[in-house]
């Protein structure tokens, strides 16, 4: 129907963003007026959602654009969190370095570097780890590649869990199962003097989640922007070529090694930044957070939204992280109080996500909002099979 109206193309494309962006950005201002239902996402949930959107968009670069299945994305999240832990806490107590950190004395023990500087550092370190993971996998394809990433996703959490006594030397790298806590807070230390409405320290504001939410949204905006620019760049087009047909891409002059490594590095980059931010928000880097389950959950987000489509992935990540963080429990409680049942729905979370993955794969493998290119591909595959007389599910 909307197609019939005499609206220019650019305006039609702008309608949805014009509605959604203010709704998202102004969420802290109006969410209290939505009522007291526990189904309304709290600000804390909203912060978590921004983090997962960042990570899912990062994973989408690897899985959606380049078609390399990554089952160990949680490793980059872990690296990002531990960078925050190492350089913004009292972990290395033999040093005393304070640089731009908020909420600590200038002679505090440990390394305390401004979180704003650590975000790119964490991203760069995760990207470096992405290259390390990418390099040995260059010779591999498809499912073997998935296994190597799965391996790294299992090894890195185990290393941080056992890293309180590296190689029996007594060197405490990661503080073991207890994790590194507390991590310094965020704040606009220097800008606060110039622009007083920017808080000096988020922890000292009346509602710290508001500022974390804003920073999270900023990260999402940067990630989405970079993701779209990368997709349309020479590199992004090489990724798509690689995804479609590796041999043909190589024959056309796409340097496979370089392109794959860049895919891992760029995907990891945003995972590291998001991990660093989430570590700061939670106030610690705890090994128990880094499980294979998170990697699978992120993959489910990408699949649900539609592999390769940034907006779809944002939607998928927002929905699933909301359900994971708050939604499922709230829905369960609502059902229980209205129907007098006693179902602990959060207990079935893993099974429900598994079911979701299976159903999506069987009935809508292109995702909720498929990228136009992917959609076309699925249609072509279907037509080809129908022409060949094969029944496709």
């Amino acid at each position: 129907m909307i197609d019939k109206l005499p609206i220019p193309r650019w305006a039609r494309r702008a309608i949805i963003p014009i509605i959604i962006v203010p709704l998202v950005v102004l969420y802290p201002e109006y969410y209290t007026s939505l009522g007291t239902s526990q189904l309304i996402p709290t600000l804390s949930t909203a912060v978590t959602m921004t983090v997962f959107v960042c990570m899912a968009v990062g994973l989408n670069m690897v899985v959606g654009y380049a078609g390399l299945l990554d089952l160990g994305y949680v490793a980059f999240y872990a690296i990002g969190s531990y960078v925050a832990g190492w350089f913004a806490s009292t972990q290395f107590a033999s040093h005393s370095i304070v640089f731009g950190a908020v909420g600590v004395q200038s002679n505090a023990i440990g390394i305390h570097i401004s979180i704003w500087l650590l975000l790119p550092v964490a991203a760069a370190m995760a990207a470096a780890a992405g290259v390390v993971i990418g390099l040995p996998t260059l010779r591999l394809r498809g499912d073997y590649l998935a296994l190597v990433t799965l391996g790294f996703g299992e090894i890195i959490p185990q290393v941080v869990r056992n890293g309180d006594n590296m190689f029996g030397t007594g060197f405490n790298l990661t503080n073991g199962v207890a994790g590194i806590t507390p991590i310094d807070p965020m704040g606009f230390r220097y800008l606060h003097g110039v622009l007083p409405f920017l808080p000096d320290n988020f922890l000292l504001t009346p509602n710290l989640d508001v500022w974390f939410y804003r920073v999270g949204l900023l990260l999402v905006a940067i990630t989405v922007f970079c993701s779209i620019r990368l997709r349309d760049s020479r590199l992004g087009r090489a990724w798509v070529a690689l995804r479609e047909d590796e041999i043909a891409a190589a024959a056309m002059g796409v340097p496979l090694m370089q392109v794959k490594t860049w895919a891992y590095a760029s995907g990891a980059f945003f995972g590291g930044a998001a991990g660093c931010f989430y570590g700061v928000y939670q106030g610690g880097a705890i090994p128990d957070n880094f499980k294979l389950y998170i990697s699978t959950l992120l993959l489910a987000m990408v699949i649900l939204g539609g592999m390769g489509n940034v907006w779809g992935v944002c939607l998928g990540a927002a929905v699933l992280s909301y359900l994971n963080q708050q939604g499922l429990g709230a829905i369960g409680n609502t059902i229980n109080s209205n129907f007098g049942t006693n179902i602990e729905i959060t207990k079935y979370e893993a099974g429900l996500f598994g079911l979701l993955i299976v159903l999506m794969m069987l009935f809508r493998p292109q995702g909720l909002i498929p990228s136009s290119r992917r959609k076309a591909e699925f249609d072509v595959v279907k037509e080809e099979h129908e022409a060949a007389g094969v029944v496709v599910g």
């Binding site: 394809r141 499912d143 056992n162 598994g354 069987l362």
Partner: protein, 350 residues
């Protein structure tokens, strides 16, 4: 000038693969020598301990072999890593606990013949259950995806894995469940744990039976034909769908038997036991995926490595590093010898 550099650089480039090849071999030999030295020192320091660790290694290896064969059978026929297989095995342990522990009440106090029959019943139950569960998964979720992009069935099995483990959590609770020590801990005058011996002895006929089915029966022939070339097999009149279902059933039966033996050996199980499947899968890759002998060999090696790592006392990294070590082996194997120890190199497999 340009041609000069060209001719000058050419021999260098030609020598490069040989140098890296030599380097690879040298590093491999050095690592193996280090491993042998480490084992030798441990053997000298505590021969008794070494012996019992060796037995534990073989027992683990036998258990992993039963699971690894399931991975390798399925991969051999449809080139799919079945992430749900470890959870099928976990269900085998759960069914065993239900039959042997809850229903029959075996706890080691019964006479020998009652225990034997009870364990046999539990094993048959687990084998039948997993032998039905596995083809059902294939029928419901994987058959429709046979022509889909290659990652689609892989991701589907990942989802099924979560469903299966969550279902086990629903029926058996989040805590460890198990049986008493059904099997005696000593046999005759030997100081060896009898249950470990029994696990190894029970695995051998299962492996022989599998070999017989694959090598000698008509259905086994069909399996090998489908594994080699699905389309050609179909044209020769092989019912491909039925053969694939049969393969999944075989894999499930082995996993069920493995589940019973695991419960006899370890006595407890939990809903997240399916993660052990990753170790077994590593074993299958190590031996050369698609190769039955290779899977057994790889499983024995992984079992021994795990036992050495966790049991030896002289400079052993210990249990908390097992996953890292096994996955490091997996990565090294995939990178340097993707066809595994016994597999044939194949152009499109890696």
């Amino acid at each position: 000038m340009a041609t000069d550099t060209h001719t000058a650089r050419r021999p260098v480039l030609a020598v490069l693969p040989r140098i890296t090849g030599l380097l690879n071999r040298a590093v491999t030999i050095a690592l193996l020598a280090l491993l042998v030295f480490w084992l030798a020192v441990n053997l000298v320091q505590g021969p008794g301990q070494f012996g019992s660790v060796l037995l534990i290694g073989f027992t683990n290896g036998a258990l992993y072999a039963l699971i690894a064969l399931g991975y390798t059978l399925v991969y051999g026929i449809i080139e799919l890593i079945n992430f749900a297989h470890g959870d099928v095995f976990m269900w085998g342990t759960m069914i065993t606990v239900s039959i042997a522990g809850t229903r029959l009440g075996l706890d080691g106090s019964q006479s020998g013949i009652v225990t034997f029959l009870g364990v046999l019943a539990a094993m048959l139950g687990a084998m039948v259950f997993c032998g039905i569960l596995n083809p059902t998964i294939e029928r419901v979720a994987l058959r429709r995806l046979r022509n889909a992009p290659r990652l689609a069935p892989l991701i589907t099995t990942l989802g099924i894995s979560y469903i299966l483990s969550n279902a086990a959590q629903f029926f058996y609770g989040p805590n460890y469940t198990g049986v008493g020590a059904i099997l005696p801990s000593n046999i005759l005058f030997l100081d060896w744990p009898a249950k470990s011996l029994i696990v190894i002895l029970a695995t051998i006929p299962l492996l022989l039976a599998l070999t017989y089915v694959v090598r000698r029966t008509r259905q086994g022939k069909a399996m090998r034909a489908v594994a080699q070339d699905m389309d050609a097999a179909r044209m020769m009149g092989v019912d491909v769908d039925r053969t694939i279902s049969f393969t999944f059933a075989l894999a499930g039966i082995l996993a069920g038997a493995g589940g019973t033996l695991y419960v006899l050996e370890i006595t407890t199980t939990r809903y997240d036991l399916g993660q052990i499947g990753l170790l077994a899968f590593t074993a299958a890759v190590l031996g050369g995926i698609g190769n039955l002998t290779g899977a057994t060999l790889g499983a024995l090696i992984i079992g021994l490595i795990q036992a050495f790592n966790e049991g030896l006392s002289w400079h052993a990294p210990g249990e908390q590093w097992t996953t890292s070590i096994v996955f490091s082996i997996l990565i090294l194997i995939l990178v340097f010898r993707p066809q595994g120890l016994l597999g044939q190199p194949e152009a499109d497999r890696a």
